[in-house]
């Protein structure tokens, strides 16, 4: 029983991360019908941005909650800016073209970030920029405390991650369904052309969507790096793909769907590795998702949209 509960805790802690990344995919897809394959790499940049900020303010020497907050917010702002840049220079010029073109640029941006970060350093410092392929180690932003209810080990890192992630999800839910910006977002998602005619500034909505999604990816990155401290430029590859699958599983374009999809994927992986074969951790979890998608192609929370002919 203890083992089962421990897997539950571990699975939730991985799942919330997938969920946070999946939210970025879902939002961008919802608004633009574009699968932003560079999203996983924005997540990677988030981890490094956090590292640079942490080094800058000296988290290594004396960690504190206040400094952890600066790292967190700093990284989110840097990634939000990166998201805006990517949208402005890689996606906007191609927005009127075939959807496949945008997909290919997205893959291009993804590789640019992955391999760009592995180039020899231009700025030499304690951690150079670009950081190169050598893994770097993220400092612990605040002291780790372990709890042990019922023999299940939970750390304050797990709790903070869970609270922050769930908080972000609810905030996002509020933004999308209760604010003017959210209404504009949904309008652009429904029909960008008509929304524009109705006085919605389509470009601005899209830019903010990218900023928001990229910021969430950075938040996920900092939550991960705090407790799993090894980071490298290819870090975003697998979580990126997994979060994409989580988003599809939940019904891409749907906020709750992304949350549930992320959690289910995290738990599925954890139980597969824990009770079945650990080598097939990734494989079986994905297979499971494929089967579910075969039975319900629109995803768990997706709606079948009637196409007008």
């Amino acid at each position: 029983m203890t083992e089962f509960l421990q897997h539950l805790v571990n699975g939730l802690s991985v799942g919330t991360i997938y969920a946070l990344i999946a939210l970025g995919y879902t939002m961008v897809y919802g608004v633009l019908k574009l699968i932003n394959f560079a999203h996983g790499d924005v997540y990677m940049v988030g981890a490094f941005a956090g590292l640079y900020v942490a080094r800058g303010i000296g988290v290594d020497a004396e960690p504190s909650i206040f400094k952890a907050g600066i790292v967190f917010v700093g990284s989110i702002l840097i990634c939000a800016a990166l998201g805006v840049l990517i949208e402005r220079f890689a996606y906007r010029p191609l927005r009127q073209r075939a959807r496949l073109t945008a997909l290919i640029t997205a893959i291009g941006v993804s590789f640019l970030l992955e391999y760009g970060f592995q180039l020899p350093p231009i700025i030499n410092g304690e951690v150079p920029f670009p950081p190169g392929p050598t893994p770097r180690f993220f400092p612990e932003p605040f002291a780790r405390v372990d709890f042990e209810p019922l023999g299940v080990h939970i750390s304050n890192y797990d709790l903070v991650s869970l609270i922050v992630a769930v908080g972000f999800m609810f905030a996002l839910q509020y933004i999308v369904y209760r604010t003017k910006f959210g209404t504009a977002m949904r309008a652009v998602s429904f029909d960008a052309g008509v929304a524009g005619l109705m006085g919605v500034n389509v470009n601005r909505v899209i830019v903010w969507t990218f900023a928001l999604g990229s910021g969430l990816a950075a938040a996920a990155a900092i939550l991960v790096a705090g407790s799993r401290p090894s980071i490298n430029p290819l870090l975003g590859l697998l979580p990126g793909i997994k979060a994409f699958v989580a988003a599809v599983f939940g019904g891409i374009g749907n906020v709750q769907g992304a949350m549930v999809g992320g959690l289910v994927l995290g738990l599925a992986e954890e139980y597969v590795a824990g009770y079945l074969l650990s080598s097939y951790r990734d494989g079986i979890a994905f297979a499971l998702l494929i089967i579910i998608l075969l039975l319900r192609p629109e995803g768990l929370f997706g709606r079948v949209r009637a196409e007008k002919v």
Binding site: T2, E3, Q6, H7, N10, G11, V14, Q118, G132, P133, T134, P135, F137, R144, D146, E148, H153, S155, V224, R228, P229, S230, N232, L234, L235, E269, E270, Y271, A273, G274, Y275, S278, S279, R281
Partner: protein, 400 residues
């Protein structure tokens, strides 16, 4: 029409090259003239170029960097003594970022572009396995400094004619740790956590399992991870319930240290055991004390009091301001074995140097006495290091 001609010319050229490539395969014992054409340019002029392929960056960056430091030290020394046969030695180092495919590209570049006489590398077995065929097909000897997987010097059942190593192999290393666990530590139940994508890790885990069972021990579970994974808690939670007395984790230092940390976070107190892939100063830096009580086998200990070891440590400290790990030592030894062979070789061709390396007997290296057996492996004793208060301490020497 012009295109057609150009095309047929190109085809002819390709055909010619292809034929040339195949020639050595048809004749396993090439005559002196033939080898000269494939390896002659390696020592033209008054310098001898040697190569090194290593992971200067990437997940196992300290392996390549330490090795390169050791090799550079050896090159500087030989050049101060006026080189070999009056020729200065030039070292070319290429980074493979810890990727087998890059290691293959780098060795091809060393052989075809830089015309090296001999090349050294790699620490990681998967990379050395990728590099070996290039040595054979180009007839340029390769000395692996620290790859311990048996497959490195083997091509199926045959021994690769141009591939050598200056370290012991995994069957020995795995056996050493199994003996140490069963006899010195009296462990009865051990769990294994192996990196499935890594020839080295899989090999060690298998040899450990065989020997440990033979000695009456039980392997309670055998689970896997992949290099680059971030989260090992699923596997560790599973292992925790098996009540193993120790965990055998034959991986590389980055992952091992992270695994140890997550194990402690889950309340696992059993000690860890491992192999030479742990040997790096980074291990302690990342583990932050999580590996206390662990033991691993490696090639040398800095606490060895023999003069040859202490003398090397002084030299290394003088040059790099740090205590060498096993890879610095093996890099130095590999380079010196190569130099001794070049010095002995009748002429400066790949074939002649290969013959000289094969005859290496009783060479007194820092990591022990090197005699190459018929499979081109060095037969040497291993050292077991114990981790106490986040510092590695010499625990035992185990002879073959």
């Amino acid at each position: 029409m012009r295109y057609a001609r150009a095309l047929s010319m190109a085809m002819l050229a390709i055909g010619a090259v292809a034929c040339k490539d195949k020639e050595p395969e048809k004749a396993p014992a090439p005559t002196a003239a033939e080898t000269k054409t494939s390896a002659a340019p390696s020592a033209v002029g008054d310098t001898i170029t040697i190569g090194h392929v290593g992971s200067m960056t990437g997940n196992e960056a300290t392996f390549g960097q330490s090795t390169d430091n050791g090799i550079k030290l050896a090159v500087d020394e030989i050049n101060k003594k006026n080189g070999i046969k009056g020729k200065k030695v030039v070292l070319k180092t290429y980074d493979d970022q810890g990727k087998p495919e890059e290691a293959a590209v780098a060795s091809t570049r060393l052989v075809t572009q830089d015309k090296v006489l001999v090349y050294l590398g790699e620490v990681a077995s998967s990379r050395s396995i990728a590099m070996g065929p290039i040595a054979d097909s180009n007839k340029i000897p390769m000395i692996s400094n620290a790859s311990t997987n048996p497959k490195v010097t083997k091509d199926g059942d045959k021994t690769r004619p141009f591939v050598f190593r200056v370290c012991f192999i995994d069957p020995f290393q795995g056996t050493v740790m199994a003996k140490f666990a069963a006899e010195n530590k009296k462990f009865k139940k051990v769990a294994i956590l192996r990196d499935v994508g890594n020839d080295y890790s899989v090999g060690l885990a298998t040899f450990f399992t065989n020997k440990f069972k033979e000695l009456g021990g039980e392997i309670v579970d055998d689970v896997s991870y992949k290099a680059g994974d971030q989260d090992f808690k699923a596997q560790l939670t599973k292992l925790k319930s098996k009540n193993a007395e120790a965990f055998f984790v034959p991986g590389y230092y980055t992952e091992v240290a992270l695994i140890a940390r997550q194990a402690r976070e889950l309340g696992i107190k059993a000690p860890f055991l491992g192999g030479d892939g742990w040997d790096s100063a980074k291990l302690y830096e990342i583990a932050k004390g999580a590996l206390d009580g662990a033991y691993f086998s490696t090639h040398y200990s800095a606490e060895d009091t023999s003069p040859i070891v202490q003398e090397f440590i002084t030299k290394y400290k003088g040059a790099y301001n740090s205590v060498p790990d096993a890879y610095g030592v093996l890099g130095y030894d590999a380079a010196n074995v190569a130099f001794a062979a070049i010095d002995k070789a009748k002429e400066l061709t790949g074939q002649a140097v290969r013959d000289a390396i094969e005859e290496t007997k009783g060479y007194k290296g820092v990591s022990g006495t090197i005699t190459l057996d018929k499979d081109h492996n060095a037969v040497k004793s291993a050292v077991v290091i114990g981790v106490e208060k986040n510092v590695g301490k010499f625990a035992a020497t185990i002879s073959p």
